[in-house]
C-alpha cells in the first residue's frame, strides 16, 4: 500500500479488525480520520471495543488478542500496526492511560518520571530545563519542591497532568487519551479538559479521546465516533452527530444522559449491550432497536456517508428522525405528594476515629427530612462525607451527635441496638454492586434473606416475594437461580435494589448506586427508582457526585462540602439559581450534552429537518 493521504491528515486508520487469538472479533472494520489540531472523541459503553481500538493506534494489543487487518497512516506516512510502532511511540503518537493513580510509578519522583521518558527518547538538552518546561506546559507548579514530590503527594488531577506532561515529552503529533478524566471530580475534570483544548490550539496536537461519557466529549471534541459492539455506528463532526444524530443507538445514548442544565425524563434503551463472541448476525444493535427490519438481521449495514462529514451504519437512518425522536420532555416532580415524613435527620455529626489523635469530622450538623415518595439528593465530591452520612443513618457508623428519626421515633445509633421494625424501615443500597451481593449466594438467597429476617416470611412466601420483587425492578424471574457473577453490572445493581425492597422499607439510602454503570444502564436504574417512588410512596436519599443525576431524580438537594451543608433547596431552585460559590463552581464545571445538542440544532420535542 502506498501513502495516499493528504498532508492535512494526522492519523488515518482503515479497516482495522482486532480479534481474540482464536476466534471472535473484538473490533471490526474501524475507519478513523483525524486532521492536525483536531480532537476525535471515541465514545462507547463497556465492551464496545473503544479501548482496544485506541491501543491499536499505538500498535499494542493485549494478551490473547491480535490485529488481523488494518492500515494506519501517521502524519501521511504508512506504518505497520504492530510492535514496530514502538519506535514511534512517544515521539509521533503517545498515550495517556486510564487511572492516573495506578499509571505512575509510586517510587519515582515526578521530575524523575518525566526525565525517564526523555531518556528513553534520547532527547538532548538539559533534563532539568525540560521538566520545568513540561510542567509549565500542563499548568503545574514547576518549583523544586513540587518536582521532588512522589505521586501520592499530589492530587488526582495533578497526577493526570503529570501523565499528560510525560506524553508531551517526545513532541508527538497525536496523543491517545483513554478515559483521562473518569475518576476525577467535575471541577478537576473541567481544568484537565481546558488544558487539553489549550494544547490543541497552541501546539496543534491532535488527540484521540476515548470515553464512555458523551457529555464530556461534547465539550472538547471536533469529531465523534460512536462505537457499539466492536463497530463504529456513527461518525462525523460534532455538529452533525450531536445536532442530528441518525443511528438509533446514538439517539438512545443521548436520551439516556442525565443533564443538570436541561432536566428531563430519561428514556432508557431496552436490553443490554452484547459482549464479544455473542454478537448477533447482521446489525449488532438489532435486538434493541425499534426500527429493525428483516434486512437488519441478515446483513451488516455499511458505514454510509449520508451527508458531508457524517457517516451512519444503519439501513433505516432516514426514518430515525421521525420514528425515534429524542425526548426532551422536562422532568416532572413525582414526589412531594404525601407529606408524611419517613425519615428525619437532626444535627447529625459523624466522626472517624484516628489512632492516637483527635477524631476527624466526617459530617457535622446535617439536618434534612425525607417525605414519603420524595427524593432528597446529597451532592458532593469524594471526601465530602456523603457516604459516612448514609452509613450513620443505616446504623453502620456511630453517630457522634444529633438524632435520626423514623416518623417520630428516634432510633438508636447502631444497627444491632435497633429493633427489627426499625431496621426494616431503613434500607441501604451500596455503591459497588459487585461487592454488595455475596458471590456465593444465588440471587434468590440474597433477595429473600431480608424478607425472612425482617418480615418473618416462610420459605414459600419468600419464593413468591422474590419473583414479585424481581418483576418490580424489571428483571425476569428466571435469574433468581443465578449467581452474581452471571449478571451484568446493571442487573446486579437492580438485584441489590430488590434486596432493599424485600424489607418493605419506607426509605432507601442510595449511595452512588449508578456511578459505576454505563449511561444506558443508569437510565434504566433511575427509571426503576422513579417508578418505585410513584407506585409505593418510597422515600429516597440519593447520594451522588453527578449533578445531572440529581436533576433527574431529586426533589430537594443538599450540597455538601467537607462535611458541611453549604447549600440546600428544591432541585429547580438550586440548579437554576445557585447561591453558594461552591455550588456555582460545581454546576458550571458539570458538562451538559443537551446544551451542545441545542446549540447544533436539536430542539425540544421536535426534530430538525433531515
Amino acid at each position: 500500500m502506498t501513502a495516499t493521504s493528504t498532508p492535512q491528515s494526522a492519523l488515518d486508520l482503515s479497516g482495522l479488525t482486532v480479534r481474540l487469538t482464536r476466534g471472535a472479533e473484538i473490533v471490526q472494520d474501524i475507519d478513523l480520520h483525524l486532521a492536525p489540531g483536531q480532537i476525535l472523541g471515541i465514545v462507547g459503553e463497556s465492551g464496545s471495543g473503544k479501548t482496544t481500538t485506541a491501543l491499536s493506534l499505538l500498535g499494542f494489543t493485549s494478551d490473547g488478542t491480535e490485529i488481523s487487518t488494518g492500515s494506519l497512516q501517521l502524519g501521511g506516512s504508512q506504518v505497520r500496526i504492530d510492535d514496530s510502532l514502538r519506535s514511534l511511540r512517544g515521539s509521533v503518537i503517545s498515550y495517556v492511560p486510564q487511572d492516573p493513580g495506578r499509571a505512575l510509578n509510586p517510587s519515582l519522583r515526578i521530575a524523575d518520571a518525566i526525565t525517564d521518558v526523555a531518556t528513553a527518547h534520547s532527547r538532548d538538552g538539559d533534563p532539568h530545563e525540560l521538566v520545568v518546561r513540561m510542567l509549565e506546559a500542563v499548568g503545574l507548579p514547576s518549583a523544586e519542591e513540587f518536582r521532588r514530590r512522589f505521586p501520592h503527594q499530589i492530587s488526582g488531577g495533578q497526577q493526570q497532568r503529570v501523565l499528560i506532561a510525560m506524553a508531551l515529552v517526545g513532541d508527538p503529533t497525536v496523543i491517545v487519551l483513554d478515559e483521562p478524566t473518569t475518576g476525577l471530580d467535575v471541577i478537576t475534570q473541567k481544568r484537565v479538559l481546558s488544558l487539553l483544548l489549550r494544547l490543541r490550539d497552541e501546539q496543534q496536537i491532535s488527540m484521540v479521546y476515548v470515553t464512555h461519557d458523551l457529555a464530556v466529549v461534547a465539550q472538547i471534541a471536533d469529531r465523534i465516533a460512536v462505537m457499539y459492539a466492536g463497530r463504529v455506528v456513527e461518525q462525523g463532526s460534532l455538529d452533525k452527530v450531536l445536532g442530528r444524530p441518525r443511528h438509533p443507538y446514538t439517539r438512545g445514548l443521548l436520551a439516556s444522559i442525565p443533564d443538570h442544565a436541561r432536566p428531563r425524563v430519561l428514556d432508557a434503551m431496552p436490553g443490554i449491550a452484547v459482549g464479544v463472541g455473542e454478537r448477533p448476525t447482521g446489525c449488532a444493535f438489532r435486538p434493541r432497536c425499534q426500527l429493525s427490519v428483516e434486512q437488519c438481521a441478515v446483513e451488516v449495514p455499511p458505514l454510509d456517508p449520508i451527508e458531508e462529514g457524517h457517516e451512519v451504519r444503519c439501513f433505516r437512518y432516514k426514518q430515525t428522525l421521525q420514528i425515534n425522536p429524542i425526548l426532551l420532555q422536562p422532568q416532572q416532580n413525582v414526589g412531594d405528594r404525601g407529606r408524611r415524613t419517613v425519615l428525619r435527620v437532626e444535627g447529625l455529626r459523624a466522626e472517624h476515629m484516628v489512632h492516637g489523635g483527635d477524631p476527624v469530622v466526617a459530617a457535622a450538623n446535617v439536618s434534612f427530612t425525607v417525605h414519603a415518595g420524595a427524593c432528597v439528593a446529597l451532592v458532593g465530591e469524594s471526601g465530602s462525607g456523603k457516604t459516612t452520612i448514609a452509613r450513620a443513618i443505616a446504623g453502620l457508623h456511630p453517630i457522634a451527635r444529633g438524632r435520626v428519626l423514623l416518623g417520630d421515633e428516634e432510633v438508636p445509633s447502631l444497627a444491632r441496638r435497633r429493633s427489627v421494625e426499625q431496621r426494616r424501615r431503613i434500607q441501604l443500597v451500596f455503591q459497588s454492586a459487585a461487592e454488595a451481593l455475596n458471590p456465593r449466594r444465588t440471587v434468590r438467597d440474597s433477595i429473600g434473606r431480608p424478607a425472612h429476617v425482617l418480615r418473618g416470611m416462610g420459605r414459600r412466601e419468600v419464593r413468591s416475594e422474590v419473583s414479585r420483587l424481581l418483576d418490580s425492578v424489571r428483571l425476569p424471574a428466571r435469574i433468581a437461580d443465578r449467581y452474581p457473577r452471571e449478571l451484568s453490572g446493571g442487573e446486579r445493581q437492580r438485584v441489590a435494589i430488590a434486596r432493599a425492597l424485600a424489607a418493605d422499607p419506607e426509605v432507601i439510602l442510595c449511595d452512588e448506586i449508578t456511578s459505576a454503570l454505563d449511561v444506558s444502564v443508569q437510565a434504566a436504574v433511575l427509571q426503576v427508582l422513579n417508578d418505585l417512588r410513584r407506585d409505593f410512596g418510597l422515600g429516597l436519599l440519593f447520594i451522588t457526585h453527578n449533578v445531572g443525576v440529581v436533576a433527574t431524580v431529586a426533589d430537594e438537594v443538599l450540597v455538601l462540602q467537607r462535611g458541611l451543608i453549604c447549600e440546600r433547596g428544591s432541585t429547580t431552585e438550586v440548579l437554576e439559581n445557585p447561591r453558594d460559590a461552591y455550588t456555582q463552581r460545581l454546576l458550571s464545571a458539570a458538562p451538559s450534552v443537551v446544551e451542545v445538542m441545542e446549540h447544533w440544532g436539536i430542539a425540544e420535542g421536535t426534530t430538525p429537518p433531515a
Binding site: 431496552p270 444497627a415 451500596f430 454488595a436 458471590p439 431480608p450 457473577r485 451484568s488
Partner: protein, 291 residues
Amino acid sequence: MSAVVETSAAPVARTGGFRWARFLRSPQGIVGLAVLAFVLAVALIGPLVAPHSLSAPVGVPASPPSPGFPLGTDYLGRDVLSRLLHGGTSVLVISCIATAFIYLIGIGVGMTAGLSRSIVDPVLMRIVDVFLVFPPLMLLLLLIAGAGTGVGILIVGIVLVLFPGVARIVRTATLEVSTTSYIEAAVARGERTLSTMRREVLPNITPAIIADVGVRFSAVIILAASVNFLGLGEKPPAANWGLMIAENLQIVSSNIWSVLAPAIMLALLTISINLLGDAYVRSLGRTEPPR
C-alpha cells in the same frame, strides 16, 4: 421503551456454586478419588484379609520378600504385609479426628477474631500466638510428660500444635471479606454473628480453607508419625504406618519394604487429600465478575 429487560447471555460454565460434575470432570478429582478409595480400602478391609497375625513373629526377622511373605518380615520377624493391612485404621482415625478438631477450633477462633473489630480480636490472636511459638515436638512432649501417653492425648497435642495456623489463615481471609458491602448489609439488617459467619463469611473463605486442608492433613500425619517414631504415641505391638517406619528403620538395608511400604501408603494418603482439595477449589468456579 421499558419492557422487561433481557438478561445477559453471560457464561454459565463457571459460577459461584460447587458443582459435582465439574469436580468429577477434573483430572485431580478423578485421580484423587481413586487413590483415596485405594487407601481407604486397604485401611478398612485390610484387617479382615490380613494373612497373618499382626503381633506374632512368623519368620526370620528382617528377611526380604519371599513367596510366603510378599513384603518380607520386620525387625521382630512379623509379616510386613499383615501389619501394613492392619496399620491404616488407626492412622486414618487419628488424623481424621485431629483434622476435624483443628478446623473446628481454627475456623471458630479465626472467624470470631476476624469479625469482632474489638478487643476480642487481639486477645484471641495473642493466645493463638502462644501456641504458635512453642516448637511442635516440645509442646507434644510436655503434654505427654504431664498427661501420659495415649491416643486421646496424642490427638489433643496435634490439635494444639496445628490449630493456630488455621486460625491465622481464617482470620486473614475473614478480615478481607468483612469489609465488603454484603457483610455491611448483613450487619445493617441485624443478622446474628453466627448466622453472618455461616451464611456470608464461610462460603467465601472456603477456598482458602480447602487449599490449606491438603497441607494441614499431611502435617497431621507426619506429626502423628513422628510421635510414634519417638515411641510416645501408640504402643507396640499396635500396627501403625508411622510406627512401622520408625521401628523398622534399623533393618532398612535388609528389607527395604518394611519401611518403604508404609511410607508409600502415607504418601498416597496425603497426595490424594491434596488432589481432592485442589479439585474442589477449582470446581467452585470464579466469583469475580467477568471483565
